[in-house]
Each structure stands twice: as C-alpha cells, then as structure tokens.
C-alpha cells in the first residue's frame, strides 16, 4: 500500500506492507537512527516520536496508521527552538544519560512543556516513567526539565516582546 505523511516537515510517500512498523520504516527507509526499536512492546521509550504533536511509540505503531498525519522524530525536532531549550536545559543541569534514552527524554520533555509551561517535580517524574532507564537520577532530571522550562519561558517572553 502507498502511505503518504509528513515526516519532519516534509511530505513523504512510500510503499509499505501492512505489518511494517513505523520504527523500522523510519530507520531503514529514511535512515533516522535516533529512533531505536529496542523492546518492540512500546514500553522502553527509545522509539518515541511526536505524532501530530503527541508522543507515540513507533515500535508498535503500524506504518499505515500515520497516513495523512505528521511525524516528528528527534532529527526533525532537533531543528526547532524547543529542542534548543531542552538540550540547553539538560546541559545547564549537567544531566548525564546513558546516551540511549536521551531521545525519549527530550521528546517527553517537549510534550510535557507543551502541556505545562512550569511542570511540578511530580509531573516531571510521572512523565519520565515512559522512558524507564537505570541511568536516571530523579533529581537531575527534575532540574534538567525545570532548566529547559526556564529557557523556553525566556525565549517565549523575548519573542512576545519583539
């Protein structure tokens, strides 16, 4: 079947079989290696993408489900100002991750900050449950997300003032 959708801001179209999962398509057809198909059960958070702005585990998502919709992977998200806020916030807080869960943590933060400009620590920890990883220091992740929220707020304030 032919499936058309928007991938990282560009219209794309491809022939895919009904059983193909979005994570495999993104990695193998588009070379988007930021998506990791690890658990293939949608629980590890390493395959997260933004589907119409909402978090979705691409390893369990059949590719035909994205027909006509917008998919943003970490590669696409990295081109945005929001990414700069989050990466900067993580850096400000000296957040050290194992390197495998970082994509998930960034996208979870993006989705969280979209809902709540100033999330409470409990909300941050709740959100991070979708990216379970042994490398996580709960306090550091709270600080990192709060630092990202600060940067985002400053950027939006300056933009509003212009």
């Amino acid at each position: 079947m032919t499936i058309s959708f928007i991938l990282n801001g560009e219209d794309v179209s491809l022939n895919a079989r009904s059983y193909e999962r979005l994570a495999d398509v993104l990695r193998q057809r588009f070379g988007l290696l930021g998506v990791k198909a690890d658990c293939r059960r949608g629980v590890c958070g390493k395959c997260l993408v933004l589907l119409d702005g909402r978090l979705a585990p691409s390893c369990i998502l059949p590719v035909f489900r994205v027909r006509g919709r917008e998919v943003i992977t970490i590669e696409g998200f990295a081109q945005t100002d929001e990414y700069q806020d989050i990466a900067g916030g993580f850096s400000d807080a000296h957040l050290e991750t194992c390197g495998f869960c970082e994509t998930g943590k960034i996208l979870v933060t993006a989705a969280l900050l979209e809902r709540r400009a100033r999330p409470a620590p409990a909300e941050i920890l709740d959100a991070m449950a979708s990216v379970p990883c042994r490398c996580t220091d709960p306090e550091a992740i709270i600080k990192a997300v709060q630092a990202a929220a600060d940067r985002r707020a400053r950027r939006l304030y300056h933009r509003a003032g212009q």
């Binding site: 990791k36 198909a37 059960r41 957040l95 495998f100 920890l125 042994r134 490398c135 709960p138």
Partner: protein, 698 residues
C-alpha cells in the same frame, strides 16, 4: 544501509546503528531443555544464501575462557541451561533467519535438571573458600547472646541500555569486531581463540556501552565469537543482535545467594564471633564463580570488626542461566546479610542500631578477614553523625519503636520504620587470573601540546573520561580542551583491564597520572612528541589456602552509610519509602554534581531491588511472563534521595563509589521494614505478600 562503512571511533555509536554492505544476520538456535545430551540439530530446508553453523564448523577452539572457567561457544554434546546456543543460522534477511532458527529441531535426551543450590552435591561445587580467624567455636560457646538467620538475595535483570550483540567485519587483513563491552581485550582474545588466529589479527572497536551493571564483562565475547565465526565462514560481515526478549531470558543474571549467618555478642555487647555459610548460585558454567565467591566471602563480616570468624563459601553450579555480577561482583550480597544481622545484634544488646554499629564498626587497626589490621581510619563515626543529623535517625528510631509498641490497630495510621547501614567499597582489588601487566595506559604529548590518552577502558562514562582529562591537564599545565581520549580500539589502545569496580577512577586515573608525571619529567629535556606508558602492578594478590586468606582485600576503600525511612500502609501493607540519605567518603571528588547524580541513580536502582525487581527463575528458565512483567521502579515512586559527599582529606585520591548504594540501601531498607512490621525479614523485595504473614498486625 545506514552507517555503512563506518570506520574508526565507534565509542559514541550504538551497535544497533552500525551496518555494512552485504552484511548477513546471525540467529541463535537454542537448547530446548535445561539439561541433556544433544542428539541432533535439524534445520528446515535452507533457502539459498542461508547456512547452519554447528560446533564442528568452528575453525578454532569451541570455548571461551572467562576468569579461569570455560564456556562453550556452541554446546556440542551436552546442554547445560535452557536457551544455551547450540547452532547458528546465518543469512541475509533477519526475519527469515529468525524463522529458520525457530523451526530448527533440536533433539535432546532430557535429563533431570540440577536446580537445587542451597543444598548441593560436591559435583556442583565450582569454587570453595574457607577462612577461619581466631577461635569462633570458643567465642560461641562462652556467649549467651547469639542471633542467626538465612539471608537470601535473588536474581535480577540488568536491563541494559541496549540488548547485547556484535558485528564482525573485514578490515583489510584483520577481522574487526564491533560490540558494547566492558572488556575489549577479552573479546579480542576469545575471538582469536575461536578462529584459531593470532590475537593481532582481530581488532575490537567498542561501541557505546550505556548502562551495563557489570553484565557486559564476558558475554559480549561469546556473541562476538558467534559473529566472527559466521563472518569467517560466509566471508561477509556478520551481525548478531539479540532481541530484548532473548537478552532478558537467556543472558547472565545477578547471582543468587544464600548466607546463613550466626553471630555472637560478648558481655560488653561487642561483636564476638561470626559463622557464615555462603552458597552462591552461579548457574551453568559459572564464568564469574571464583571472583563472585571471593568478593562475598571477603565482605562476610560487613563493615564490622570481628575477632573470631569462620567463613565457608561455595559457588554452586546449576542448570539455571549463567549468573554473576550485578552492580559489583558480589560484595552486595555479604553486606546485605551482615547489616541485617547487625541490626538484630543491636536489638539483642539493647542498643540503638546506630550506637551499636558505631561501637563495632571497623577502625584503624581492626583485624580484616586476612588477619591484617586496617591501615587507615575509616570515617564511619563522622558518616554516622552526618547521617543521624540529616535524617534525624535517633529521634525517629526511638519514636517509631514507642509508637509501634503502643499501637492499638489500623486506625492508628501507618506504621513507620527507619534503618541504617554501613559499607565500604574496596578498590584496586584484582580479578582471578589477572596478569601483572593487564593494566596499562599510554599518554602522548604532541608537538602542538595536545595530549592523547590511550586506554582500552575508555568505553566508560563520559564523567570518568572527563576526570582523566582534568587530571592530565592539571599535571601538565595544559588546557583541558587540548586533552583527548583515543578510541579504545585494541589496535590503538593498550589493555587497561575490564571496566568494572570503579577502576576507571581507582586504577586508570592513577595510571594517567603516572604517565603524565613521566612526560612532565622528560618534557623540557627531550623534543616533542613524547609518549609514556604506565603499568599498574598488582600490590598483593589475594591467595586462599588451608583455611586462610592472605594479601590485601583492597588497595584502598571508599566508605559509606545509608539511612532509609519507610511507611507501611495499614490496610494494604504496601511499603512506601519516605526518604533515603546517603553519606559517602569517596576521596577526592572531582565533579560534585556528577558524583551526587551517580549516587542518586544508584540509590534509585537499589530501591528498585527493595520494592519491585524480582526475577523468578523457575525450572531452570526465565519465563516469558517474567519478561513481560519485569519492570523498573517508576521515578515517581522514588522517595527523596539526599546525598552527602564527605571529604575529610582533599589530598587523597579519587576512589570508586558506584557500588556503595547497592551495598547500603537494601540493607537499610530491610531494617526499616523490620522495625515498622516488628519482625525480622531475610530477603528482598519485601511487599505486602511477605509482610502479611509477619510481625504485628497493622
């Protein structure tokens, strides 16, 4: 294919992102029973381009050597655990190869699996340790106050950042191996042995390691042999990459232990004697049996001075999956038992646990298990004071005792308890079979004053690499930005031993320091570039013989303590941790933020072992249900974790601290639950099921 033709530094690349033109995929055909005689392996009709690899196809030796133990690369005559690799299917399409492996018939004459390990036969014993210090029999005979119990630590899953795998590809006249490993040279030597070639004909290029929890010490070598044999036989790059389920069900787990500990007090309430009988289930083959058992036995008395000691330890082989290291090599098991016993001894002596522990804890000159006196003064007193002040331990402990005794029923609200534990983490301890020149680091100062550090241990955390850079920059008075760490490829970096037991700090950092000192001496006498090598000499290796152990258990140690406060829901008996306080003396702390973050992350994982992580290995296998239900503690379920880095002397070296949360937090948690429930507990995790059958009514 993405990542095609990647060459050079792979340390920042995930293995799953690597690929090569024409690469074939390797799938494992596994043993269907935990124990039996292998009769035949019959694949379905193989399509063109697919091939079955059996043990007789292995060009070299069908064995990898791990810490003195041998593990078959492919089981040839007998299978020793369910899921053991017996053959490989190689082909271009991973889905087809998977299907072919799944439909391959493995005919085994099943035998009764040997699964018992707390009581075991002499054939099951892979390693034995016996140590007697003083006269424990006499001490027990004259003491009228003793406590005993059997403390059990269960299996756990490492849940690596990335499932295990390996890629073998040809790099001109060499075979290049790409894998996430803690020990690149072990992979190289294993592959060379399997292919029957020279060590130098194999190059290992470690990929990003991520969280390994000490589970990637030897198993990557086995998978690399699979990939290398496939590549060698089909003359194409070959990749083996386990699915998360395969990794969960068939790769090594944390060893299970049972420690029967009996302890006696003298008239003054001091610890007079310990008698410990230790059984460690190391599963099939027991690749880490010697070292795991040594570590458990050396720490049998915990952080306490005991003049009379008998330790009898056995590493027991079973038909479970191989089991061994997890967040350290075994000391965590011993500290858990010793600390739980110490809390009960304090109760028997009629003392507050912190007071009893401070009285009996190791001090300068205290006899160690080797009979030698401790050479430095552990700062336990200061650690206890700081923890007591931060957590309000003394007041809370007394209050919770009083409240529990006066309690009339559930309407009184939740039960509370608070526990406290000491531990130490030895550093500079060496593994069985280490050769004196196993630990080498090379440093080069170039003409432009840039410095390159070469070590095979560079696959560690970025925070450790940044400590090496800072150390070198400080010694040579050059900007830290001009210091780089070369990729840990075995054709470029010397063997610096395995990345474990915080050696990045305790061994490699010292070697960097020494190599830089050598360069500094030559720097203004000889022209640049200059290269210096530094080799770590084994101080005095541990020797076990005739009821004695000689040598130093550790070159230096970091010291720590933890307090955990717990609340039990009166109706559901669900334990809810209220707070964790950690105080650690880790020597010179180069980056406070990162050290605190590492300790908090460790404490979070340790809390997972207390509350959630329990891996049942029934009938010799990890079931699919276990795979589907096993999960980490959610961050929101964690209590506040407070970390206090105690630095009494800024002139001491940096020491490893990564194991301390695992040594202290579970033991403190168990004591807190015991106080809240009014009954002792002997294993973790503790949940409503365990609590409902014990102690006071809630």
């Amino acid at each position: 294919m993405p990542g095609s033709g990647a060459h050079g530094a792979a340390i920042d690349i995930a293995l799953t992102d690597l690929g090569f033109e024409g690469m074939v995929h390797v799938t494992t055909v596994r043993a269907p029973v935990p124990r039996g005689r292998l009769r035949s392996v019959t694949p379905p009709r193989l399509p063109a381009g697919y091939r079955l690899i059996l043990p007789q196809d292995i060009p070299g030796r069908n064995r990898i050597v791990s810490f003195g133990t041998e593990v078959p690369i492919l089981a040839a005559d007998r299978v020793s655990y369910k899921g053991e690799p017996v053959a490989l299917i190689v082909g271009p399409d991973p889905l087809v190869a998977d299907e072919l492996a799944r439909t391959t018939v493995v005919d085994c004459e099943e035998e009764d699996a040997v699964l018992s390990w707390e009581s075991f036969s002499s054939e099951q014993v892979l390693a034995k340790r016996v140590v007697v210090v003083g006269d424990p029999d006499l001490a027990f005979s004259i003491s009228d106050r003793t406590v005993d119990g059997v403390y059990r630590s269960g299996a756990s899953e490492h849940l690596y950042s990335e499932p295990q795998g390996s890629i073998a590809s040809f790099d001109y006249d060499k075979l290049a191996i790409w894998c996430a490993t803690q020990w690149p040279y072990h992979v190289r030597d294993s592959v060379a042995l399997a292919l029957g070639c020279k060590d130098e004909e194999v190059v290992v290029r470690p990929t990003r390691l991520g969280v390994h929890m000490d589970g990637k010490l030897w198993y990557p070598s086995l998978l690399s042999c699979h990939a290398a044999i496939a590549a060698f036989l089909v003359r194409k790059p070959a990749r083996i990459f386990l699915t998360r389920e395969e990794d969960f069900r068939y790769t090594p787990k944390r060893a299970r232990s049972s420690i029967a500990l009996r302890a006696a007090l003298d008239n003054s309430g001091r610890l007079a004697a310990i008698d410990a009988r230790i059984a460690v289930n190391v599963g099939a083959y027991g690749p880490l049996a010697e070292e795991t058992l040594s570590q458990v036995c050396l720490a049998a008395a915990g952080a306490y001075a005991c003049p009379n000691l008998r330790v009898e330890g056995y590493a027991v082989a079973t038909n479970d999956v191989p089991m061994g290291a997890f967040g350290g090599l075994g000391a965590t098991h011993a500290f858990f038992a010793a600390e739980a016993t110490s809390a009960r001894l304090a109760q028997t002596a009629g003392l507050d646990p912190m007071a009893w522990k401070s009285l009996n804890v190791l001090k300068k000159g205290s006899p160690l298990i080797t009979g030698e006196g401790l050479k430095e003064e552990p700062p336990y007193e200061a650690i206890a004071e700081r923890l007591a002040a931060a957590s309000d331990f003394g007041r809370k402990y007394a209050c919770y005792e009083l409240v529990r005794k006066r309690r009339s029923g559930r309407a009184d609200g939740p039960l509370r308890g608070i526990g406290f534990a000491f531990a130490y983490q030895g550093a500079g301890a060496f593994l069985a079979g280490d050769s004196p020149n196993s630990y080498t680091v090379e440093v080069s100062l170039e003409k432009d004053l840039s410095l390159v550090i070469r070590t095979s241990a560079a696959a560690c955390r970025e925070s450790v690499r940044s400590i090496w850079k800072r150390t070198a920059a400080l010694l040579l008075d050059i900007p830290v930005e001009s210091v780089t760490v070369a990729p840990p490829d075995t054709d470029k970096a010397p063997n610096s031993g395995p990345v474990t037991l915080s050696r990045g700090l305790t061994v490699v950092n010292r070697l960097v320091e020494k190599a830089c000192e050598k360069i500094q001496k030559q720097r203004f006498r000889e022209p640049l570039p200059l290269t210096a090598r530094s080799i770590y000499r084994v101080p005095r290796p541990i020797k076990w013989s005739d009821g004695r152990v000689e040598g130093m258990p550790f070159d230096m140690a970091s010291w720590g303590g933890a307090v955990v406060e717990v609340e039990l829901d009166p109706w559901t008996l669900e334990p809810r941790p209220m707070g964790v306080w950690l105080c650690v003396d880790g020597g010179l702390i180069v980056s406070k933020d990162r050290a605190e973050a590492a300790l908090r992350a460790g404490a979070a994982d340790a809390m997972g072992l207390c509350l959630r992580e329990k891996l049942d290995i029934a009938s010799g296998q990890v079931s699919e249900d276990e795979y589907l239900s096993y999960c980490l503690l959610q961050p929101a379920q964690l209590p506040p974790i407070f970390v206090d880095l105690y630095e009494p002397d800024r002139h001491v070296k940096s020491k490893g601290i990564g194991e301390l949360p695992f040594d202290t937090v579970p033991a403190a948690f168990l004591q807190a639950v015991a106080q809240a429930a009014g009954a002792p507990f002997f294993s973790l995790p503790v949940g409503p099921e365990e609590l409902s059958g014990a102690g006071d009514e809630a």
